[in-house]
């Protein structure tokens, strides 16, 4: 079955303009150089923290972002440079954040919420601003749809990858993404 794929899209997770210097710092850090690791931290904390904040919310973002860098330090020896350091770190962050969500008891059922939950999004708007900030609108999405929207549209993962990460059918990922987009559209167009 032929799919009508658009041209290559540069994904956020593949944007690694500092990859050469990162690779050097990763090597130094793996040897125990804390200054090199701090440079890596400074270069990537914004992305990691934003990911954690969007996936988990403000309350957990700081701790989750710190967890990511602590785990990265512990696992630096496994970084072989096949991928850019930023890509390696991002995947590590995704795994940790999804694990944290599981531990806090987010149930698979969340991904199967019906249309009603999503379509009440616009009605839950708390302030009469003319336009709602996109970040705030995303935060108001139901949990499961938010994860899929973030992973696909913000982070650039494909449905097959998302389905693997979350233990869902690819079709569920696609339908939840569409519902999330529709809810955001309705909300932001108000």
């Amino acid at each position: 079955m032929t799919r009508t794929r658009p041209g290559p899209v540069k994904l956020r997770r593949d944007v690694t303009p500092k990859s050469d210097s990162d690779a050097v710092d990763a090597t130094l850090a793996a040897m125990g150089d804390a200054h090199a690791f701090e440079r890596l931290y400074r270069g990537h904390i914004g992305r990691v923290h934003s990911l954690a904040r969007r996936m988990l919310g403000d309350d957990e973002a700081d701790e989750a972002a710190q967890d990511v860098f602590v785990r990265a330090w512990e696992k630096l020896a496994t970084f072989r440079g096949e991928a850019a350091f930023g890509t390696w770190l991002h995947r590590l962050a995704i795994n940790l954040i999804l694990g944290r969500r599981e531990r806090r008891g987010v149930q698979r059922q969340r991904y199967l919420e019906g249309d009603g939950v999503l379509e009440t999004l616009a009605g839950r708007r708390s302030a009469p601003e003319a336009s709602m900030d996109m970040e705030r609108a995303i935060a108001r999405l139901p949990d499961g749809a938010r994860q899929i929207f973030l992973l696909h549209d913000v982070e650039g993962y494909q449905h097959e990858e998302i389905a693997g990460m979350l233990g869902l059918a690819t079709g569920t990922s696609k339908s939840q993404l569409h519902r999330a987009r529709m809810a955001l559209r309705q909300h932001l167009d108000r």
Partner: protein, 215 residues
């Protein structure tokens, strides 16, 4: 308003429809204003999602990370033996000389006025060959010799990673030197070159320490 195609619009947008499905939906779009409007809205959402800006945390989290990994006071996991300290000493001498060289005032030089970040050397410029530059080159040669003599004692993966990274740094230094040659007054380029050279020293120093550790 929605119809049988509304729920397929995201798949269309993402290129996930088969050719026959795509053709059918595009035919539908020519007659359905509601679907065209919805598609425009979905495109806008996707574009906004891709352009979301990352932002750093509201407070500095590094100190917490540093404490948890045991480097809160700038410590390192490695403890250096006497030979390692010798190697590190060479590097420190080079850094001192290199800094002096890079900061040396002169008519053909540019001096950066930029605060030093932790772990960085506040350097700025590259001018003509000087004693300090020769000192830098000499120390690089010394460290490379230590690495060359000891590489047989390192495992092949370590050697490969070191060589890859040294090649990366050399490439970065060459690029930076070309950039500085073309725009010698550019403070950013000069600082970048100096930082890249410092990283080469850092890496060579660590490599020399590794060699000494397995001697």
């Amino acid at each position: 308003m929605s119809d049988q195609w509304t729920d397929r619009l995201s798949e269309y947008l993402d290129g996930d429809l088969t050719e026959p499905e795509k053709a059918a939906l595009e035919a539908h779009l020519t007659t359905c204003a509601a679907c065209r409007e919805t598609l425009t809205g979905l495109r806008r959402i996707v574009a906004q999602a891709r352009s979301l800006e990352d932002r750093p945390p509201s407070r500095d989290l590094w100190s917490g990370v540093a404490t948890r990994i045991g480097v809160a006071r700038g410590g390192r996991r490695l403890t250096f033996s006497v030979p390692q300290l010798l190697a590190a000493g060479i590097a420190l001498a080079v850094l001192s000389g290199g800094s002096a060289w890079l900061l040396h005032p002169g008519p053909a030089r540019v001096t950066a006025v930029q605060p030093a970040a932790p772990g960085t050397v506040p350097v700025a410029t590259v001018g003509s060959t000087s004693a300090a530059e020769r000192s830098y080159d000499s120390a690089v040669d010394d460290l490379e010799r230590i690495l060359a003599e000891g590489r047989g004692r390192l495992d092949s993966t370590t050697v490969r990673v070191l060589e890859q990274n040294l090649a990366l740094i050399d490439r970065a230094i060459a690029q930076a030197q070309r950039a500085v040659a073309a725009d010698s007054a550019n403070v950013y380029l000069n600082t970048h070159l100096a930082e890249t050279m410092r990283r080469k020293i850092d890496l060579l120093r660590q490599a020399a320490a590794l060699v000494s550790a397995v001697s």
